[in-house]
């Protein structure tokens, strides 16, 4: 894919080799999952998987945590980082034989860096039907501001 791009790219010939190197580095970064804050980033490989969205006033962080109790979940905010850690307990049924065991249990911890400044005092989290939603308000500085045009 990369080689094809090298040769097929209409406007980037060999006149500026460094520009081409930069482009390659960006592709590789993307492949390795080094660049965050971009849509469609490869999986981080750490439980839980997180979907991060934003609106004008807040970042919204969602994760699927089925069967996890509120008391077994710990959410911390440091600077721009949100850390979600906890434990999923699955009590094995006594005196029963298992036919299938596909559900995961164990400890987990995941940190996410948000792309902008946040207001740490107003973070809200809810756990409903096994879905965690953390609403992280943006700090006043980071909110978009309508700029009036004077005529």
């Amino acid at each position: 894919m990369i080689t094809r791009r090298l040769f097929d790219f209409p406007d980037a010939g060999w006149r500026n080799p460094f520009e081409e190197m930069d482009r390659m580095r960006r592709y590789l970064d993307q492949l390795m999952g080094q660049t965050d804050t971009r849509v469609g980033v490869p999986r981080a490989g750490v439980f839980p998987l997180i979907n991060l969205t934003e609106n004008k006033t807040a970042y919204i962080l969602r994760a699927e945590l089925p069967g996890i109790q509120t008391e077994d979940l710990d959410i911390q905010a440091t600077g721009r980082n949100i850390t979600i850690s906890g434990q999923r307990k699955i009590e094995p049924a006594p005196n029963a034989t298992y036919h299938r065991r596909e559900r995961e249990s164990g400890k987990f911890s995941r940190a996410v860096t948000l792309p902008g400044d946040i207001d740490r005092d107003k973070i809200e989290a809810s756990l409903k039907n096994g879905g965690l939603t953390v609403t992280v308000p943006k700090s006043e500085k980071a909110k978009p501001r309508q700029i009036e045009i004077k005529s």
């Binding site: 979907n51 934003e54 096994g130 879905g131």
Partner: protein
């Protein structure tokens, strides 16, 4: 052994997408929920992880000897929101099992709590194990 399993780190298991199932009623991805099935003398217990499914949106269907689990999911995002980083998709959950003859279908019990569906399939009287006494003499 149980404690050992709970102390290790959880691994990411990507959602398993269903391929080639029966017709879908709505567009979008369909996933296979992970399940545990265990059995004791009286019941077969089935637990399925269906995060994000509301209790009203679960559909459990027993027809002939097929048990079908369907979990409908409602999109959660507002129109106002834009994606920053998307690691998982949401979609319907679908899974089918073949029931053994010995299940008492009238007494199947289901509950959904914290995104985990628990089904209790009681065994029919005839299917319960009976201890056979050996007479000495």
């Amino acid at each position: 052994m149980a404690n050992e399993a709970q102390n290790r780190d959880m691994q990411v298991k990507g959602k398993q997408e269903v391929t080639g199932t029966a017709e879908q009623t709505r567009p979008g991805p369909v996933f296979t929920p992970p399940v545990d099935i265990c059995e004791d003398e009286n019941v077969i217990k089935l637990m399925a992880d269906m995060p994000g499914v509301k209790p009203d949106d679960v559909n459990i269907d027993v027809r002939e000897d097929t048990l079908t689990l369907i979990g409908e999911i409602q999109p959660y995002e507002d129109a106002e929101e834009t994606d920053v980083m998307i690691e998982y998709e949401i979609g319907q959950y679908f899974r089918q099992f073949t029931l053994p003859e010995l299940i008492d279908r009238e007494k199947i019990d289901a509950q959904l709590k914290d995104g985990v569906l628990t089904l209790e399939l009681p065994k029919a009287e005839a299917a319960k194990p009976q201890k056979i006494e050996i007479k000495s003499g």
